[in-house]
Point group: C2
Chain length 404, copies 2
Amino acid sequence: MLTVKTPDEALEVIRGSFCCIAGEENVPLDQAAGRVLCKDIYASEYVPGFDRSAVDGYAVRAADTFGCTDAIPAILEKQAGIEMGSGAEPLRPGCCAPIPTGGALPEGADAAVMQELAEDYGDGTVGITKPAAPGMNIIYRGDDVYPGKPVLKRGKVLSARHIGALAAMGMCEVPVYERIRVGIISTGDELVEVEKTPAAGQIRDVNTAMLAALCREMGCDTVEYGIVRDEEKLIGSMLDRALNECHMVLMSGGSSVGEKDAACRIMAARGEILFHGIAMKPGKPTILCKSGKKPVIGLPGHPGAAFLVSRLLLPQLLCSIGGREVRRYPVQARLAEPVSANHGRAQYTAVKLMDNGENVVAVPARGQSGLITNLAYSDGFFCIPRDTEGAAAGETVQVYLYDN
Amino acid sequence: MLTVKTPDEALEVIRGSFCCIAGEENVPLDQAAGRVLCKDIYASEYVPGFDRSAVDGYAVRAADTFGCTDAIPAILEKQAGIEMGSGAEPLRPGCCAPIPTGGALPEGADAAVMQELAEDYGDGTVGITKPAAPGMNIIYRGDDVYPGKPVLKRGKVLSARHIGALAAMGMCEVPVYERIRVGIISTGDELVEVEKTPAAGQIRDVNTAMLAALCREMGCDTVEYGIVRDEEKLIGSMLDRALNECHMVLMSGGSSVGEKDAACRIMAARGEILFHGIAMKPGKPTILCKSGKKPVIGLPGHPGAAFLVSRLLLPQLLCSIGGREVRRYPVQARLAEPVSANHGRAQYTAVKLMDNGENVVAVPARGQSGLITNLAYSDGFFCIPRDTEGAAAGETVQVYLYDN
C-alpha cells in the first residue's frame, strides 16, 4: 500500500490535510523579530502625524513666490525658525520661516523652498529666486499611512523592516503565533551520540543536531529526544511522548526495508498515513502521517536526504500548522557541468554557487551519497523534473538556497 | 571637506580600513548555528568510518558471482546476517551474508548485491542472478571525508547543514568568533520613544528597534542607548560610552545641515572620517568614521534610508571586523513598471516580488519617502547605477532580498 507522491503532490497533500494549531500570544516589539504575525495589521494613526518639510529651507505661502526670478526675487519677512520636535506659530502672509528637513510645516504655509533657492539678506528679510508650487517639498500628514490602511498581513515572518513599520505606528505589543514546537527523534541501532567515538559498524547521530538547527532557523522551538533503538515498542512510546509534548514530530530512521515497514506500522497505529514515499531522489522513503491534528514525518536516515526532504516539506507544514507564509524565490544560475537524471523521479541536485563576476554559476556537488561533502559544500539545490533527461552545462537552473 | 563615495567605493574603503576585532571562543555544537567559524575545519577521521553497503541485499565476493545469469544463478552459502551497528564476521569464500543499507561490509566481501537480484532458497543457500563488479554498491571508508580533508572555511556562517557536517565528524565544540556587539544611538529633538504618543512636530524613534532587529538578524548582539537630544555634548558622551562598550556604533540622526555638521564634528573628534556622503539615493548623508579599530556609522535619520544604507554597509563591516563571509546572490526579476533615476547617484529602489507562475515580477514601491509603506511592503531592492537613465518595464533586474 505504498502511496508514492510527486514532490508537488506531497505539498498539496499537506495543504489539504492540516490546519493551524499554533496558539496566539502578544510579544513585546523587541522580541517580535522572526515571529509570525497572527493578525492583519492596520494603521491606527497618521504617519507622518503632521505636514513636514522634505528639505532644509524656508516654509512659505506659495502664492507669495509667484512670478519671482533670479533678477527679481520675492522678498519675504523672516519669522522665527521652526525647531525640530516642536509645533510652529502660524505663517503670516508675506512671510517665510526657516525650516529643517522633517520640521513641522506652520499653519498657513503650503510649500517649502530649498535653502539653495533663497538668500537671507540679514536684515530680517529673505529673497526667494524661484516660484514654489503649492505642495512643493511637503510630505503631508498621512502620506505614508492613515488610520485603517492595511500594513502587514497575517502570516508575515517579521524581520527588521517590519519591526520598523510597527515601531513607527507605536505598536509595542505584537500579536504573533506561538512558536511551533518540533520533536526530533533519531532511530537506528547503528547510531551513537555525536560526542562518542563510533565502534565497528556504528555512525554518529547527525540528524538530531542538524534537524534541530534547521527547525530553529525556521523559527521553531525544538525538543530533542535523542537516539532510540530499532524496537517498535521503544520507538512507539517515544513517539507518543513527542506527540504529547510537541506540535509536530520529525522521526528519522534507517532506510532498510524492515525499518521502513516498522516506522510505517508505528505511525499507522497513531494516525493516518497520508503518503508513503515521495518520487524524489534523494528522499524517496519519506512517510507523512497525521496523528490527531499533528504531523509526523518519517524521514530517511541518511542526513543528506533527511535535510533535503525537510527543506522541501517543512515550509509548507509550518504554513499549514503554524500560520507562517511560504515565500521562496530561486536564484538563477548557469550550470557548470551537465547533470544526468533518472527517469521517473524528480532529482534534487545540491550545488555550490560561485559568482564569476558575470554570472552566478552553479557547480554540482559530486557524489550524491557524500554526507558531509554535500552538506558542507553546497549552497542550495535545483530540481530536475521527473521524466527529464537531465540538465546540460550552461543551462540556466533555478537554485533554491538553503539559507533563506 | 565632503568626501562623497560611490557605494562600491564605500565598500572598498571598509575593506581597506578595518581588521578583525572579534575575539574567539568555543561554543557547544547545539549553540553554533548562526555563529561565524573562526578556524578552517579539517576532517580528523574517516567518514564513513567503515565500508558500508548502499543497498539492502547480500554482501558477496564479486568473483563468486562472475558468469552467473538468470538461468544459471551463482549459488552461495548464506552466513549470519549483518546487524546494523555491529561489526561482522569475515565472509568466507563461496558465501554471502544478508546486509541492510548502511550495514558494515564484512572482511572478505567486496560488493553488495541488491535483494531484487538474489533469491533465498530457504535451505541455507542464496542464488545470485547477476554478476557483481568489485566495489558495486559499496560506500568505502573515507569516501566522504578523510583525515586532513578541508571541510569548512573560516568565516562561514554556520547553518543547519554545517551543523550536520560538524556532527558527523564528532565536533562537539566549535571554534567561532565572538558575536559583534553593536551600539545603537538615535539622535534628534523630534524623537520620542515608540510607546509614547508624539506631540506636535514629534515622531517616534523607529531606528532603534529596526536597526537592533537588523543587527540581530546578522548575528550581532546589540546595546540600545535610546534617544539622545541634539546637543553635541550629550551625543558625544553617549558615543564615548558606546565605543567603550561595543565593537561598532550605529548612530542615526536628523538630516538637516546643522545636525549633519554636528554629527561629523562629534565623530571627527573621536577618530578619522573615512567618508562623508555616499552617492546613493536614498542614503546620501552617511558618514563612516574609524575610532581606534572600531567603526562608527552616522546614518541618515529617515528610517527607510537608514535601513537601506545599513543593509549595504553592515555585511562588509561584519566581514571586516567580525570575520563573517560576505555572500549575497540576487534574485532575477522582471520589472513591472518603469523606474526613473537621477543622474549622478546610484538609485536604490525598493520592490515587492510576486511570482506570477512564469516569472518573478518586481513591483517598485511607490513614494521613496514612504517610511512604513516602503519598509513593510517591499521584499528587497535593486540598484540603478549612477549615470543611467532608469529602468524600463519588463527589464530584468537583480533584486537583493532583505531577508537573506
